[in-house]
């Protein structure tokens, strides 16, 4: 998994704080421990030394009441003493005897060397033992001091340092998050600006005045890039509009002039009548090619304004088929039957009626060219998402089946690409002759918030499925005074 820059900055800050607090805490802990222990050790040695001289004085005086002596020494110090005299050991209390002295220490002291040892007993208590040989009276004196108070102090200190370290680490993480947010904020401005530009708001720019001094370069070059982009898009849009105008003018003249000739058709000789027929047929084709190409270039420029009207879907399909059959290039057959599922009879959809008619014309022409003609056109409900109430999420599907060999699953998305001729290459393109027929179907459907796909019909032919979101059904009658709703929604509210 790849960590984002924000997470990485946060992690580095957290890790830094952790290392730093472990280091400082460790140094503090061991220094304090060392000094406290050294202090206790020297105090213990001093006390043991003075007690040892007391013992020597007593023993020199011939006193052999060891327990009395040791009890006297121990009184009020919290320490315990062990005395070796003439190879016998005497402890100051029942709990302290020869075995309380660590063997190594005992061996060393009985050998004649004074020694000190810090250790932990089997019960876990920290103790310090000081052993002093008293050669003058053939004795050795040991004193054992309890270090559990020091132990406790060190535990509290350790806990405190641990908590401080944890808090420091958390603060480091928080600081890291804060810093990464601060650092990334200019980038999120850039992101939202880029998003707005991608969404068509070409006037969006970053505020160079408000930019971080370190990022002025980025801001300036970003703005320069958008300027360039805007200039190019506008130039392209102007070019399209110019081409559109330039092509339409001669087509208008041609169309009007051919119209005049057609009015006088009966007075023309037969040869001229045939020539006129060719002229007017190809003029019609030419007009459609031009308008298809312009439609595509407009879609590319993102300058399609669409006016969606809420209409009954079954009426829409029936009317589109009836009218569309007359707009087809090949007029060899009657309009195919439209089968309407009773469930969807009253359903309403939002469409541009003329675009929808062109969609059906293109599909019917495609079926004529590649699929042996249309067999059935049907209107039915799309899959029911179930969850939502009313018509939210519901789709209505219009299927156009043909009698051809069907379309290979591998080609089913490609057929909607521009100029795609498929495995049937060599044959003429779709009815428009531009290879744009199905690409325009997809384009029109998307503009109307719908979609198109192709699958197999039950007879093995191709089945084109148009789907549109359902808005409502007919059995309602509410007065709605947000009156310009339809116009406003489509942005033609001038």
């Amino acid at each position: 998994m790849k960590l984002g820059i924000g997470a990485r900055i946060t992690a580095v800050f957290g890790l830094g704080a952790l290392v730093l607090s472990v280091l400082l805490g460790g140094i503090a802990y061991f220094t304090v421990r060392h000094f406290l222990l050294a202090g206790r050790e020297s105090a213990a040695q001093t006390q043991a030394f003075s007690n040892a001289s007391l013992v020597r004085t007593s023993l020199e005086g011939g006193d052999t009441n060891y327990l009395g002596l040791l009890g006297q020494i121990d009184a009020g110090t919290g320490a315990h003493s062990v005395l070796y005299h003439r190879s016998k050991a005497y402890g100051s209390s029942l709990s302290v005897n020869a075995s309380s002295i660590p063997p190594q220490l005992r061996k060393e002291v009985l050998g004649g060397t004074p020694a000190t040892q810090t250790y932990r007993t089997a019960a876990g208590t920290a103790e310090i033992a000081v052993g002093l040989p008293v050669p003058a009276v053939h004795a050795a004196y040991f004193e054992v001091f309890d270090l559990s108070d020091l132990d406790h102090t060190m535990n509290v200190l350790g806990l405190t340092l641990f908590v401080a370290g944890a808090v420091t680490t958390l603060l480091g993480v928080a600081l890291g998050r804060f810093a990464s947010r601060r650092l990334l904020r200019p980038l999120s401005d850039v992101t939202s600006a880029a998003g707005a530009i991608a969404g068509g708001e070409l006037d969006t720019r970053l505020d160079i005045e408000a930019a971080d001094p370190d990022l002025v370069g980025l801001t300036a070059s970003f703005n320069a890039m958008v300027d360039q982009l805007q200039v190019r898009i506008e130039r392209e849009a102007r070019f399209n509009s110019d081409v559109s105008h330039e092509l339409r003018s001669p087509l208008t003249t041609l169309s009007a002039a051919v119209g005049v000739l057609e009015t006088d058709r009966d007075r023309l000789p037969a040869r001229s009548q045939r020539a006129l027929q060719l002229l007017s047929d190809d003029l019609r084709r030419f007009q459609r090619m031009v308008s298809d190409l312009l439609e595509m270039s407009r879609a590319d420029a993102g300058s399609v304004d669409v006016f969606l009207e809420e209409v009954n879907v079954s009426e829409l399909v029936q009317r589109s088929v009836e009218t569309g059959i007359g707009h087809m290039d090949s007029r060899q057959h009657a309009a195919p039957d439209v089968v309407v599922d009773p469930e969807v009879e009253q359903w309403r959809v939002g469409v541009d009626k003329r675009r929808f008619e062109r969609v059906l014309v293109n599909l019917m022409e495609n079926a004529d060219h590649y699929g042996g003609g249309v067999t059935t056109i049907a209107v039915g409900p799309g899959p029911d998402p179930g969850a939502a109430s009313g018509f939210a999420g519901r789709l209505v599907e219009v299927t156009v089946d043909d009698a051809g060999p069907g379309i290979d699953p591998a080609e089913r998305t490609k057929v909607f690409e521009r100029f795609y001729r498929g495995s049937a290459s060599g044959r003429r393109g779709t009815g428009t002759g531009t290879g744009l027929g199905l690409a325009l179907v997809a384009e029109h459907m998307h503009v109307m918030h719908g979609d198109v796909r192709v699958e197999s019909s039950p007879d093995g032919g191709a089945r084109f499925v148009l789907s549109l979101p359902v808005l409502s059904n007919d059995d309602k009658d509410g007065v709605d005074d947000t009156s310009e709703q339809l116009v406003a929604e489509t942005g033609v509210d001038a």
Partner: protein, 227 residues
Amino acid sequence: MSGRILVVEDDERIRSSMRLALEGEGYEVRDAASGEEGLDLFAEAPTDVALIDLMLPGMDGFECCRALRRSSAVPIIIVTARSDTHDVVAGLEAGADDYVTKPFVAKELAARIRALLRRARPAEEEPGALTFGDLQLLPEQGVLRRLNGEEVHCTRTEFRLLCELAASPNKVLSREQLLDRVWGYDYFGDGRLVDVHIRRLRTKVEADPAVPQHILTVRGMGYKLVP
């Protein structure tokens, strides 16, 4: 059917071919190469229908429409290069009655003109006089006036639209029905014609066009007139 047509179009070839086509349909045609010239010709002699291209040098088609509308209720058809732009709505807002898209088929243009000329004449089935709000609609006399006698000026298309709504008060008429009855369009007529004309009408008959009391929108269905 005869009628006097004024064509305002800057492209000389289109102008000539339109003249040929329209004269072939039996109309009397005068043409102008600019908006200014068009307004002069309009002032000189009576005109039944004006055809105005939106892209004109100098005074553009929108301005030309507005100038004509200030002095006249003559039916206006705008000629536009594209149907899916704001141009159509802007042209209709400027006072046009209908539009055609270049390149148009001569027959289609002739059909549009016929529909407008038909409307310019008294219709056969007119509703009786209807009073709503402080307005009185007298279809037979072609008059809409306030109860204080002041006449409300509207174009013939607006008047026809109001009469169609008034012929069946409180009943919803769909866009398709209105397009058919007022403009003579089939199912594929442009609903924006109805929407913009309704909007124009509201500015004339409603006290507050933003909160209409008489010409109501029934969402997704159409419009109805409530007296």
